[in-house]
Subunit: 322 residues, 2 copies
């Protein structure tokens, strides 16, 4: 099996590349290194075919040849995914999600490849239904500061589903809820990386709003297992987007408590105003993934945080020694 | 003033072209004639520069020269807009809305042109808030049979608004609610054309569901006046999408009654099941257009229907005499 992973030098992309190699796949990686980094792939650099490519402008007409030949499956993970990253250049983000999906679907069509596309819980916006099943249509501001990502990802889903419906393409959408783990970006502005870095540096942890907003945190290895199960699902059983995430819900204040337990430190909190359009709750209904994929997250927050803290601790040491 | 009208051979596009010419503008029209027709522009054919062009693939890099030179303003009306038209080839529809907007914004940027973009009440989906102000985020299925249009138009709004926010582009969005009048397509499957054609042919009028769903009908000349007012708005006063439509709301059953009054005929009704994801209510809040543009619709439904019936009656005669 020859797999293309777009965004393969990113946080989740690099986890997926390692998991695919372990399964014996040949792996081509496309990444423009906008947020990703080649060092995330250091240990597997020799095994993969890496191309510094931008999916906004890579189409069937200007496709580079992989040393492994045609793609059997494309995992489309290329897109800045954390608010500070995707809001830095919203037009770039929109183009990556929207033009990128348009290109990937046409490339897959020309290779006869399956597509597994990373959608997101952000398509639910600031949800009015809680927790969120796949059938929920979402509550998204079309012209807000998060729209480049939220609407870009929605439009990508739409095109993908119309490829399934009208071109009989094999495209499978999964909606990723908050995920964390090794290879996260320390600067991605999300709560787990913010908190871990602050705790390791004995700085106050930043809490936006009153900390009563909730998030559900899925450890990276669990998420990757879900993606690989979706790939193995018999085609006729796929019937639209699948939520992948951990249904255990924490308020941000509770997260502080868990982190205190894991680090054994009393953490100081620094409060900031809640950003515009920030979702107040977010928790997946994963009944569909459990039923179709026989998948359920296994790693609890304490265990995942321990591993993530160890990774960030090493990263901070490496940065200091440079 | 040199205006480009994309979709200028369509229903609203051709009305806009005639109105712009009356104002003394030079007008270039791009239309791929997917739903539009050159006969809609017969009476002004000599005055305009017509190009058979597809905005999905027309970019600053392959732009045809207009005989009037650079564009001062671009009215982007190119997109199939009625459910049977936009659902016929959903990938084409999505591409027209999404890739088209991407191209138009870059073309406008390279010409230093203002953009007025036709968005739609469909971005509100099947609304949970009634009537719909511009601040309402909508209730749209991202992967349904209407999504190619609804999500395509939402993604176009997103990109446009980010051009305003980050590139300081002069892009103005208006959301069109149901509009009718001369030059409508007899086969567009919308209630006004369906009803007029049926009444003129003494056939039963098709009612989907129980006819209790509501629509608000704006006559074409009113809508065009709104678009032209938005063009003339001082730039600093524009602050996001503006609803344009008639706030007078009718149930479909009431519409039958009005049509009976206008035609003087007792109409037979034929019932059909309600299509998937069909909005149950749709009515604009137009307070923003009234305040910013001093605009309000003037033509009532009876008067508008009389004119529309006269147009369709002539079209039916012409078709028979061929």
């Amino acid at each position: 099996m020859h797999a293309l992973v777009t965004g393969g030098a990113g946080f989740l992309g690099s986890h997926l590349v390692r998991a695919l190699l372990k399964e014996g796949a040949q792996v081509t990686v496309w990444d423009n290194l906008y947020t990703g980094s080649r060092k995330n792939l250091n240990e597997v650099a020799g095994a993969i075919d890496f191309h510094n490519l931008d999916i906004r402008i890579t189409s069937p007409e200007n496709l580079p040849v992989s040393r492994f030949g045609k793609f059997g499956v494309i995992f489309n993970l290329a897109c800045p995914a954390s608010p500070p990253h995707y809001q830095k250049d919203p037009i770039f983000t929109w183009e990556t999600s929207v033009l990128g999906m348009h290109n990937i679907l046409r490339i897959a069509d020309s290779h006869g490849a399956m597509v597994l596309h990373a959608s997101t819980s952000e398509i639910y916006g600031d949800p009015l239904v809680h927790p969120q099943p796949e059938s929920y249509w979402g509550n998204v501001n079309p012209v807000g500061i998060r729209s480049c990502y939220d609407e870009g990802k929605r439009a990508a889903e739409t095109l993908a589903q119309d490829y399934v419906r009208f071109k009989k393409a094999d495209v499978r959408l999964f909606r990723i809820f908050n995920t964390y783990g090794e290879y996260m970006y320390p600067d991605d502005g999300r709560v787990i990386s913010n908190f871990c870095i602050a705790a390791l540096k004995d700085a106050p942890v930043p809490v936006y709003g009153d900390g009563s907003q909730t998030r559900s945190f899925c450890y990276a290895s669990d998420l990757i297992a879900g993606i690989l199960s979706l790939q193995k699902l018999p085609r006729e059983k796929y019937d639209g987007p699948v939520n992948l995430g951990n249904p255990r819900e924490f308020t941000i204040r509770e997260l502080v408590g868990v982190l205190e337990k894991v680090t054994g430190k009393k953490l100081q909190v620094k409060n900031f105003p809640l950003p515009e359009d920030d979702p107040k709750v977010r928790r997946p209904v994963i009944e569909k993934a459990q039923r179709l994929l026989n998948w359920t997250p296994k790693v609890d927050l304490e265990e995942g945080l321990q591993k993530t803290l160890a990774y960030f601790s090493e990263e901070i040491k490496n940065a200091k020694s440079k």
